[in-house]
């Protein structure tokens, strides 16, 4: 019984200005994994390796029980892929694209596609060149979703969208993903989008996986403390990710937030004034800074 939607083991790839070394990343079936990273972090490379579009220099990729890139043809029948740099044929209509996809994927669900057309407020007979960027993204998602793939891979689908269109896409996507038991890999540099959709979150930077946890664990384990420095304040505190001093005050960030850490702060000469939960974006930035 295959428990993973995908499993990437010891993936390494080297380009002239980018290297990925021993990346291990997996996704349990039915889960939504958000892949967060700045531009150039390696998100698209990871996804291209996962789709069999790029062959890694080393490592193994298993997607839905298929070895990639060797078995990518079989695997792709069950993978739905959409990316920000994906475009449809501008002189053809959305209906033409739906018919084209249906001719390849017999499971293409016309009823579901019709529902998505209404939900996304798209017109099937409209040519792609007449669509806005937001509508084009929705059209791509429609074509992918109506195939009902077992694994959905979305590479920065909301990039370049205005805030309203982005919110519409994310809201619709969140609804759709709730309806189904699909495994989803969703990459973005926008942590708000990731937060709304993901069960698990992975941080990627410069080709390295910095962290991989479920969303709640991230939010619960990371915290920021504003402290007053006592005369006996030490230089470091066990469990602190960063300490920023400013006169008699200090801001301490930890990834081990608990009562024990508050006690450790006190013992190290840091009097806690206030404690804040951190947003996913702040956690991501702190993670990247710690590892650079």
């Amino acid at each position: 019984m295959q428990h993973y939607a995908f499993d990437m083991r010891n993936i390494s790839i080297r380009y002239p200005h980018f290297a990925m070394e021993n990346l291990n990343l997996s996704l349990a079936k039915g889960q939504v994994l958000g892949l967060v990273g700045v531009n150039g972090a390696g998100k698209s490379t990871t996804i291209r390796i996962l789709m069999g579009l790029v062959k890694a220099d080393a490592g193994q990729v298993d997607v839905l029980g298929y070895q990639l890139p060797a078995q990518q043809v079989q695997a792709k029948y069950d993978i739905g892929f959409a990316s920000d740099d994906m475009r449809l044929y501008k002189n053809q209509t959305l209906q033409w694209h739906m018919d084209f996809i249906h001719s390849i994927f017999p499971n293409f669900d016309h009823g579901y596609a019709k529902g998505l057309l209404q939900r996304f407020e798209l017109i099937a007979d409209q040519k792609i060149k007449g669509l806005s960027h937001g509508q084009r993204v929705k059209a791509c998602l429609l074509l992918v979703l109506a195939r009902r793939p077992k694994l959905l891979v979305l590479d920065e689908p909301t990039t370049g969208l205005d805030p309203v269109a982005r919110d519409e896409v994310i809201t619709e996507l969140a609804d759709i993903l709730r309806d189904d038991e699909r495994s989803v890999l969703f990459s973005s540099h926008n942590t708000h989008d990731i937060e709304k959709l993901s069960d698990q979150i992975a941080f990627l930077d410069k080709g390295k996986l910095l962290a991989l946890q479920d969303k709640e664990s991230f939010v619960q384990s990371w915290a920021r403390f504003r402290c007053q420095l006592l005369p006996q304040a030490q230089d470091s505190v066990p469990g602190a990710v960063s300490i920023r001093r400013s006169g008699q005050l200090a801001e301490v960030i930890t990834d081990q937030s608990s009562n024990d850490f508050a006690v450790a702060l006190q013992q190290a000469g840091f009097k806690v004034i206030e404690q804040h939960r951190m947003s996913l974006e702040e956690i991501f930035v702190a993670n990247v800074k710690r590892n650079r």
């Binding site: 790029v54 890139p69 043809v73 079989q74 994906m86 044929y89 791509c140 992918v144």
Partner: protein
């Protein structure tokens, strides 16, 4: 290559897709071809020569449009990512592109060449020009294969256009060179087509080069490890 052969239905589907995308343009070009053949059929030196120049231009335009539209623009317009999300490998895709482009070029090329030959044999135009017409047509086909290969291997508009310009320049040189060859020049006015060892040798060399360029393209495409 074995994977590609196993995925024949998808390759065929991609070829049909390209045919659908190009069919209107192709119909317009063929209509132009009919008009040009009609001009050549008037069989006056002025109309025949003007028609021949227009026919060469048309053949180049059909090839250029197909290589740019179906290969280079697929990357430029970012539809390549959409295609590669389908159950195909890079090799399947390249084979489909090769097949689609060849079909979309060879069919009109063949029809135009046959149309010209029909005009020549059925009008007072001397049949002696047949080897010249065939050899120039094969050179144009070879040129097309060269810039199609460039497009498929590089997906670069710049490189593809450079090869197009170079092959077009070479075409002028080729026509000039071949017309001055005694084996061709002396038989142009002959009432029948005269295939001799020189013209047959050139035809064979052109055909071998066409096949060689296509096989080399398929081989180099197969060695690629990264796509997109």
């Amino acid at each position: 290559m074995l994977t590609a052969l196993n995925n024949t239905p998808m390759i065929k589907r991609l070829i049909v897709k390209d045919w659908q995308l190009m069919k209107k343009s192709l119909a317009a070009y063929m209509l132009g071809g009919v008009v040009i053949i009609g001009m050549m059929g008037m069989a006056t030196p002025l109309m025949f020569n003007t028609g021949a120049i227009m026919m060469i231009t048309l053949m180049i335009v059909i090839g250029a449009r197909s290589a740019i539209e179906l290969v280079v623009n697929e990357k430029k317009d970012q539809t390549l990512a959409f295609m590669m999300s389908l159950p195909v490998t890079a090799q399947d895709y390249a084979l489909a592109k090769l097949g689609a482009n060849l079909a979309l070029y060879l069919v009109p090329w063949l029809l135009l060449v046959l149309g010209m030959l029909l005009v020549i044999v059925s009008t007072p135009v001397t049949n002696g020009v047949i080897p010249l017409v065939v050899l120039v047509s094969v050179f144009i086909l070879l040129s097309y294969c060269c810039y199609l290969a460039t497009a498929l291997l590089s997906y670069s508009e710049g490189y593809t256009i450079t090869v197009m310009i170079m092959t077009n320049l070479l075409l002028n040189g080729f026509i000039f060179w071949i017309i001055r060859m005694p084996a061709v020049h002396t038989t142009l006015e002959a009432p029948t087509a005269s295939w001799n060892s020189t013209t047959l040798g050139l035809l064979l060399a052109g055909t071998v080069l066409v096949v060689g360029v296509l096989v080399l393209t398929a081989y180099l495409q197969k060695r690629k490890t990264s796509f997109l």
